[in-house]
Symmetry: C2
Subunit: 352 residues, 2 copies
DNA sequence: ATGAAAGCGCTAACAT
DNA sequence: ATGTTAGCGCTTTCAT
């Protein structure tokens, strides 16, 4: 890289002082400087390819137009990159650049990251979780930093999470509307249980209650978070005697719905004819690609990410005091939901 | 944020000059300053919680310990975030922070990003593609910047891409080793055809040739890149008369392998008993979760990302002149490959 | 309407 | 062995 042109180079070229160049190039010239001079300055700048050194400017103005995005993990839940993209887009819209640092949720790395970012004088910090959870805000996070997809343990940090309870309601309601009354919840078996697990269970129960359906505890099963765990859990459900067997499965997530598909297949059940399935997450490359495509509830990653930057950069109101913003999770209707089978029948034969 | 302590605060506290503090804190004190003074300085710094302002330091040293990572897209191929993570990790290992900017592959955004990053005085730039392709290096990219998962159109840019040809060879060889001789290539139908498509085809043909198998053009089919397109393409293959039908499918990617699974299922074929399938990408949340788990070839995203930072930051040799580094793609053996069925039989019955 | 000069917080020559 | 000084490239009073 050859030496970059500086403001004094422009000044010399235009026959004015550096101060004037600064004024003009920052649109602070308003009334002060005649259009002709402004024109001359801009020409000179363009001619020599001048572009201000952000570091010097930052030192002087004490604002860097950068933000830091700390994410606890990045690769495990690939679809959550939508949050990163959203933060990116929002930052760009505000003329900011973003430092990304992922910390694998290690406390010491988190502290280092916060410190490094503060040393860089970032204008704001976002702490992003890759899944809805309680978060212990890292030491040194300046108040005003926003928490993304997590619930901060301390006040002073605006936060946004998906409205999992409401999302589950929408999902289960869709099943009720299709005529189902024996609806199972294929839950995740993890310790500690994710916040989303409980919230979605609440939503599930609320809709059943509202529909006058007595919840059958046997229809709340748990399996490990992968397709195999879900396949087994769903399998147990499908082995229930005809009268007790569910006609619809609400699955904790799309990955588990994928397992439910396997179980149905192994039981000779057609989706959605013999069994309806709803997932959660709207995970790219799963939900839409399953056969048949999966009806699911979308996690509003992009919206949450956008919300976070905008609150951080002040273009949107933070929720009053301790309030956590609940972002709606829309139902994505595809083809895995149908009316319940006319009667409880024997495991069907595959169509030929 | 209350006013940060500065180096002069530490100096006053320790009863020395700012210069001494700088020396000590940067481990440049070597022989010059007695241990006792050093200790005093460090104590003072710790006491008042001093941490140097990176912006000021950068202005002075003309090096920022930051790098810029420009990625053409981020959300579409979620598994490619492994590259970002790798860059992250490598940067951290070198004490650098990374600016992430995604440009949706728009030329004007790319140019803006390059300019903004240069204004920030980043120490280096990486241009990352989300899939192996030819890249027109954005205007203003300083020579020495590295291209990740792409082939630059100009010299002066070290680059790394997956060794798709060799990867395909390994995949098809696994099939040959299992005893297959009628092996199809379920290719992607896209215009322009991705580099990987052609390279993998070459690898496929090379292995067949080496095994003395005459390639049957009817076994090279194409489908759209989603599960449905692949299902149809694979379906056509499975409808071939017994003697011509393939016993194994090499799929362009895991998503298409997923479609092949659907097709097999619809034809009453069991995997791997009746049909073997190999994918490509080792896409998280697909390959491992399919039933049965998919044998596939991994794209070395992490390794490539790591390579890129290390070359950028000088801890690894760049390939000689125009050379593009080919990163090996390892075979991930799971359960979708078996020996060919004893004889061409009628579509099998599902196990009960 | 413009310029001179100070200074953001640090580091690196150069003195002492 | 340590301190003084002069900037890094900009912005911003304050003078003129």
């Amino acid at each position: 890289m050859t030496k970059r042109a500086g403001i004094r180079d422009v000044a010399r070229e235009a026959g004015v002082s550096p101060a004037t160049v600064s004024l003009v190039l920052n649109d602070r010239a308003a009334t002060r400087i005649p259009a002709s001079t402004q024109e001359r300055v801009r020409r000179a700048a363009a001619d020599i390819g001048y572009s201000p050194n952000s570091v010097a400017r930052s030192l002087r103005t004490r604002t860097t137009r950068t933000i830091g995005l700390i994410s606890d993990e990045i690769a495990t839940t690939p679809y959550a990159v939508r949050m990163i993209e959203a933060v990116q887009d929002g930052a760009r819209a505000h003329g900011h650049l973003v430092f990304l640092v992922s910390t694998a949720a290690e406390r010491s790395l988190e502290r280092d990251a916060v410190a490094a970012l503060r040393d860089q004088q970032v204008d704001g910090l976002i702490y992003a979780c890759m899944w809805h959870r309680d978060v212990e805000v890292p030491q040194g996070m300046p108040p005003g930093s926003v928490v993304l997809d997590g619930r901060p343990d301390r006040a002073g940090y605006p936060a946004v999470v998906p409205d999992d309870r409401r999302g589950a309601e929408v999902a289960v309601q869709a099943l009720v509307d299709a005529g189902h009354r024996r609806i199972a919840y294929v839950d995740i078996d993890e310790d500690p249980s994710p916040l989303a697990s409980g919230l979605r269970h609440e939503g599930y129960l609320a809709v059943l209650a509202a529909a006058g359906i007595d919840p059958d505890p046997a229809l709340h099963v748990k399996g490990s978070a992968d397709a195999v765990g879900a396949r087994d859990a769903a399998g147990r459900l499908l082995e229930l005697p005809p009268g007790r067997r569910p006609t619809a499965l609400f699955c904790f997530n799309d990955r588990m719905a994928m397992g439910a598909y396997s179980a149905a297949r192994r039981h000779g059940l057609e989706i959605p004819t013999d069994l309806s399935v709803v997932g959660y997450d709207d995970q790219q490359l799963i939900a839409a690609e399953l056969d048949p495509p999966l009806t699911t509830v979308a996690l509003p990653h992009y919206d949450m990410g956008r919300w976070a930057v905008e609150v951080l950069l002040g273009s949107r109101e933070a929720p009053p005091d301790q309030g956590v913003m609940l972002m709606p999770c829309p139902l994505i209707t595809r083809e895995s939901v149908g009316p319940p089978p006319a009667e409880q029948k024997e495991p069907g034969r595959r169509r030929t």
